[in-house]
């Protein structure tokens, strides 16, 4: 590791706070423009890269086939997709700029070591809109760290920034703790790219309510929003709903943090989902799973103890992507209920009521088959096939938080605004400002697009400022 005295003694041009995709894009752009750059990553090296290490693709506009992307994906279609998920909670000018810039980002990413591969098996629906990273997000992170190293960016791990020293609208230094030692690192510009606050359970509980203590955090435990809070306390302008986070339903047995992609469960459309009282609470067959999995985090979050159970029978066990944890198995519904810790009798009643409401028809796993229940509340509107062939399987579900929406307000140059207008030399990129564009909902691969576009802009602007 770099000597602490060197860190404090060096006159840095650009201090980058964070170590994920946006931070790396900023550091690389600034270093390529000749700036002397230090990147402060809060995590130890094996966990470097923030939530970027769990990502897998980049949503990219393109006017024709581009790298691994097929066909075209125009600005308006992209923007419509964004409007649909955000329900208008976006800044149109910023969003359109981001979308347009994404097209030039893909070649830039390739030129800086990122490799793409055709759409992964099971994700063909994204082959036109999303470019998948060969090896996933950690491979991208590795490539960028190597590129940054080649450009002589100084990378410091386990560097937890506590305070951004801004006086009269002008950034002076960050105060950090590195391996237990307080360090003040001065610089002529700063790029804040240290993510959201979803790993700070206390903050989540204050914002969302005590139920948040039962949430699982899908990504890095290092995104605790320390820098975001410090900036907001200093009067930086915020965007995004401070009480909201994006959560999906994941396997209830997943680790508290960092479970990532493998903890997802795709069985819900072929199941009935009950709460801990053994009662159903929502239409499991409302739409195909990729379009619905995002709402189930919230649905489960509102159930008692923030837990639910997906129940299927042996007819459906091979209809979805394999799960990382084996399901709980029992020969009877009552036995399954007991093993899951819910009343077997009540589960039996729920399953019987569901089975009685099922109607004959053709079951088709990969399309909306219209096989719906009759006279059941809530109804199941597709894939309603009786749960009758043992052995029976159960998975527990819990809300898994992906990201938070509260962030710093930025302009089209990624500059942050404080009480006295725009700061002279403070830029932000990535999840810490993504709420400016993605105010609600989720769009696959768009977080990486925001991070790349704004990371690059922030790095360019910071370097131009110090040149």
């Amino acid at each position: 590791m770099t000597d602490l005295t060197d860190l404090t003694a060096t006159d840095w041009d650009v201090v980058v706070v964070g170590g994920g995709n946006a931070a790396l894009c900023a550091a690389i752009e600034a270093a390529e423009r000749g700036a002397r750059v230090v990147l402060l990553e809060g995590a130890p090296k094996p966990y470097r890269g923030g939530n970027s290490r769990h990502t897998r693709n980049f949503r990219c506009m393109h006017g024709g086939p581009l790298s691994v992307l097929t066909d075209t994906y125009g600005e308006d279609e992209y923007f419509d997709d964004l409007i649909r998920v955000t329900k208008g909670e976006t800044d149109e000018a910023l969003a359109r700029m981001t979308i347009r810039t994404s097209e030039t980002c893909l070649p830039w990413m390739e030129a800086h070591g990122v490799r793409f591969q055709p759409s992964l098996s099971g994700t063909l629906s994204l082959s036109r809109t999303n470019a998948f990273f060969l090896g996933g997000g950690k491979a991208l992170v590795n490539a960028y760290y190597n590129t940054a190293e080649d450009l002589r960016v100084t990378v410091v791990y386990e560097a937890q920034v506590r305070h951004v020293d801004i006086r009269d609208g002008h950034f002076r230094a960050v105060e950090a703790e590195i391996a237990g030692h307080p360090v003040r690192i001065e610089g002529r510009a700063v790029v804040l790219a240290s993510g959201g606050f979803q790993a700070d359970i206390d903050w989540l509980a204050r914002a969302w309510g005590p139920a948040a203590r039962n949430f699982l955090i899908r990504g890095t435990p290092y995104n605790r929003g320390v820098v975001l809070k410090d900036m907001l306390d200093q009067g930086a302008e915020s965007v995004g709903d401070p009480t909201q986070c994006h959560a999906v339903a994941i396997d209830g047995r997943a680790p508290k943090y960092d479970g990532g992609i493998v903890t997802r469960l795709d069985c819900v459309p072929f199941s009935i989902v009950v709460n801990k009282d053994g009662a159903r609470f929502y239409d499991e067959g409302e739409d195909v799973w990729p379009k619905r999995y995002a709402i189930w985090g919230r649905l489960v979050a509102t159930q008692p103890d923030q837990v639910a159970y997906a129940i299927i029978d042996s007819q459906s066990i091979n209809d979805f992507m394999p799960s990382v944890y084996p399901p709980v198995v029992a020969d009877t519904i009552e036995g399954l209920g007991q093993q899951l810790g819910i009343s077997g009798t009540k589960l039996r009643e729920t399953v019987d009521a569901f089975n009685a409401a099922c109607r004959p028809g053709r079951f088709h796993a990969t399309e909306l088959d219209g096989l719906a229940t009759e006279g059941l509340t809530p109804a199941k509107t597709n894939w309603a096939r009786p749960i009758e062939k043992g052995p029976f399987y159960g998975y527990s579900l819990r809300p898994g938080v992906t990201f938070t929406y509260l962030g710093l307000k930025v302009d089209e140059t990624a500059r942050v605004t404080g009480t006295g207008g725009r700061y002279d030399n403070v830029w932000a990129a990535g999840e810490i400002m993504a709420g400016s564009i993605l105010g609600q909902g989720y769009l696959a691969g768009f977080g990486m697009t925001i991070g790349t576009v704004f990371g690059r802009i922030a790095g360019q602007e910071a370097a131009a400022h110090v040149a």
Partner: protein, 360 residues
């Protein structure tokens, strides 16, 4: 609940635990043939894991791309898990079983085999000196060489044939078509599975940076070995078929094949040794490191002593160098079914088996 289990798992069970995590992730699909083969399954039998393990070329791309490596509680290290299963599978297939893994697991054992073979050859050359003969046949008669090397060649061929049969039975292989064999040979000839999926190479000697150094060194060794083998074969044909006996001139077919082959082996071997010294041992099976290194050294020594013998033509060094060269070759052949040499045979089988999976 977490995935950790209190008692130690067998190598196969540990690989199964890891592969089931991979199958729920799938980010590594583009690196090599292991992942597409894996993602066709939902559950993994021991035989499936044997096949995946032998298909794995230990390029380590998946390790460095993995979100779940230690200190993460899932503790994935697929290159190592598959290396352990691979080693066990060769030992299971080895015939006779008493030698299973002997030279693969122990560099010292391979060294002792070399010493024994050298001693044998020195003894043969010093006591069985022929009355007449040209070139190195002046030191050791052609008939004596055949008496030593014909069984030394046929024994490992026979042992490997049994091993292959066992491999094929275990992994449920079908009758091989020409197209499947051609597909496997194409993959092996290019070392496709050390290419990282896009030709960028492996993560071997430079951490998470990609490099083709190992692929190139391995290509030099493999093609050099095949040229040397062709050289010996051509000599046999010339001797028995055409009545043209050694020594051969510099432009005879055995020399035209053997000299470049030997040089390639020496270059490739030196490269492989240097790379292996730099690579992280914990991403393979660490307990095999010595045996693997000894295997590369003995192959390299085979080529080096062959070239030295040729260079010494007509000098008084020939009998001594002949004993060293032939002793090295003898040790290499006799230990082959129980050394790292097994990788070439079983990986080829795995490539053919994989081609069968791709064209059902």
């Amino acid at each position: 609940m977490s995935l950790d289990i209190a008692f130690p798992l067998t190598a196969t069970d540990e690989a199964r635990r890891q592969v089931e995590i991979c199958n729920a992730c799938r980010y590594c699909e583009g690196y090599c043939s292991v992942f597409p083969a894996m993602f066709k399954e939902r559950a993994f039998t021991d035989a499936d894991l044997t096949q995946l393990a032998n298909l794995c070329h230990n390029c380590r791309g998946c390790y460095h791309a993995c979100q779940y490596t230690a200190p993460h509680e899932f503790d994935l290290n697929l290159p190592r898990a598959l290396a352990e299963v691979r080693a066990e599978s060769w030992e299971r297939f080895a015939w006779p079983g008493a030698f299973a893994g002997m030279f693969h697991r122990s560099g010292v054992a391979l060294g002792l085999a070399l010493i024994a073979a050298l001693a044998g050859l020195f003894w043969a050359i010093s006591t069985l000196r022929p009355a007449s003969g040209d070139g190195f046949y002046a030191a050791l008669a052609h008939g004596t060489m055949v008496a030593i090397f014909l069984p030394a060649f046929l024994l490992p061929v026979f042992a490997f044939a049994i091993g292959l049969r066992r491999y094929w039975r275990e992994t449920g292989g079908r009758r091989v078509t020409l197209a499947e064999l051609a597909a496997a040979l194409r993959d092996a000839a290019r070392m496709k599975n050390l290419g990282g999926g896009q030709g960028q190479g492996c993560n071997y000697e430079k951490g998470d940076r990609f490099s083709n150094a190992r692929r190139h060194a391995h290509q030099a060794m493999m093609w050099g070995f095949l040229l040397c083998f062709a050289s010996t074969s051509s000599g046999t044909v010339m001797h028995y078929g055409l009545g043209m006996e050694a020594p051969y001139g510099p432009f005879a077919v055995p020399k035209l094949l053997g000299v470049p082959g030997g040089l390639l082996m020496v270059i490739g071997g030196a490269g492989l040794v240097a790379l292996k010294l730099k690579a992280e041992r914990h991403l393979g099976a660490p307990e095999l490191w010595g045996g693997e290194m000894a295997f590369v050294l003995i192959l390299t020594l085979t080529a080096l002593t062959g070239l030295a013998l040729y260079a010494a033509t007509g000098t008084a060094l020939v009998p001594g160098l002949l004993a060293v060269h032939l002793g090295t070759v003898l040790a290499f052949f006799l230990t082959a079914p129980y050394s790292k040499m097994a990788h070439g045979v079983y990986r080829m089988a795995a490539l053919v088996r994989d081609a069968q999976g791709r064209t059902p």
